[in-house]
């Protein structure tokens, strides 16, 4: 199972994402933002960081990187895509996911081990979890406030597209405590917290995040 990880100028967490894929039993494939294709990978991770320096808006310029044309086309055809933090912002800017991420309501960068509740286990990236399962995963972002208009929020809630929710506190003012959402077909998921930093108790708060990466291995086999 080959999982592509895109490196943009300013990506930070591409190596940890590759490590998480390897821990889960997949083969990470490095992709470059300037590439025209995705080297035939089965799924793609857009990692965290500050692509293009977060100029203009977070993810706004990365969305138009050459590799994103192929990622968007393949995502529309059902290829699983996971956007973490800056990757989530890129997926919203690319309109693969609804809503947008704005500056935290507390006006400061937030870095904490965050408790989450898994709400949707039917997505390509969360099938390893149980509904209602609690996870602790690092959150580190300055612009993690999830917003969308009320109609969109109602729609994604009723369609079961809220994938994870903040549980102990709402750290950034996200609407309805939303920490992650999916596309209508459940193949594209975006999250502000960083599961790739929680795959091994040696280097993170635990291994709760590994399930995102094991989930996709079975979902690609099933597809």
């Amino acid at each position: 199972m080959r999982i592509g990880i895109v490196t943009f100028p300013g990506s930070l967490d591409d190596r940890d994402a590759a490590r998480a894929v390897r821990y889960a039993g997949g083969e990470p494939v490095a992709l470059w933002h300037g590439d025209d294709d995705v080297a035939g990978v089965d799924a793609v991770v857009l990692p965290g960081g500050f692509s293009y320096g977060d100029y203009l808006r977070c993810g706004a310029i990365a969305r138009f990187a050459p590799v994103m044309r192929t990622v968007v086309d393949r995502a529309h055809a059902g290829m699983p895509v996971l956007g973490i933090c800056n990757g989530f912002q890129i997926l919203c800017e690319a309109h693969l996911l609804p809503g947008a991420l704005i500056r935290n309501d507390c006006q400061t960068f937030v870095c904490r081990d965050q408790e989450l509740t898994v709400e949707a286990t039917g997505t390509a990236w969360t099938s390893s979890y149980q509904p209602g399962q609690r996870l602790v995963v690092p959150l580190k972002s300055g612009e993690g406030g999830y917003v969308a208009d009320e109609a969109t929020l109602d729609e994604i809630e009723s369609a079961g597209r809220v994938v994870v929710r903040y549980t102990d506190v709402n750290p950034n003012g996200s609407a309805r405590d939303i920490a992650g959402v999916s596309s209508a077909d459940g193949r594209v998921v975006g999250l502000m917290p960083h599961p790739e930093h929680a795959i091994d108790p040696l280097t993170g708060p635990g291994a709760d995040g590994l399930g995102f990466f094991t989930s996709v291995l079975t979902s690609v086999v099933a597809a």
Binding site: L56, A60, I61, I102, R103, C106, Q107, G145, V147
Partner: protein, 87 residues
């Protein structure tokens, strides 16, 4: 010619930057200010005259890249740069 694109957060979107600026203004004694919203202004230089066709194209540029219609509103108009007006 310059074409100006002004981008503002939608009224219903929380603007933490504007709120921080408002508090700083009050600390400085500018208590007559009751609200601040912070946006962006882009000055686009274009060769030749700016006709409706040019403005239509730059409207596309604004709604595609310069503003995110999910959270922001924008206007596109012919204008001078702030530098020229302040000179």
């Amino acid at each position: 010619m310059s074409v100006v694109v002004e981008v503002m957060p939608k009224p219903e979107i929380l603007d933490p930057q504007g709120q921080a600026v408002l508090r700083a203004l009050h600390r400085l004694g500018f208590t007559e200010v009751t609200g601040v919203r912070q946006g962006k202004r882009f000055e686009l230089d274009v060769d030749g005259d700016v006709d409706d066709a040019v403005l239509d194209r730059l409207e596309q540029a604004a709604s595609t890249l310069l503003a995110n219609p999910v959270i922001e509103e924008h206007v596109v108009h012919v204008g001078a740069s702030v530098h020229d007006e302040s000179a």
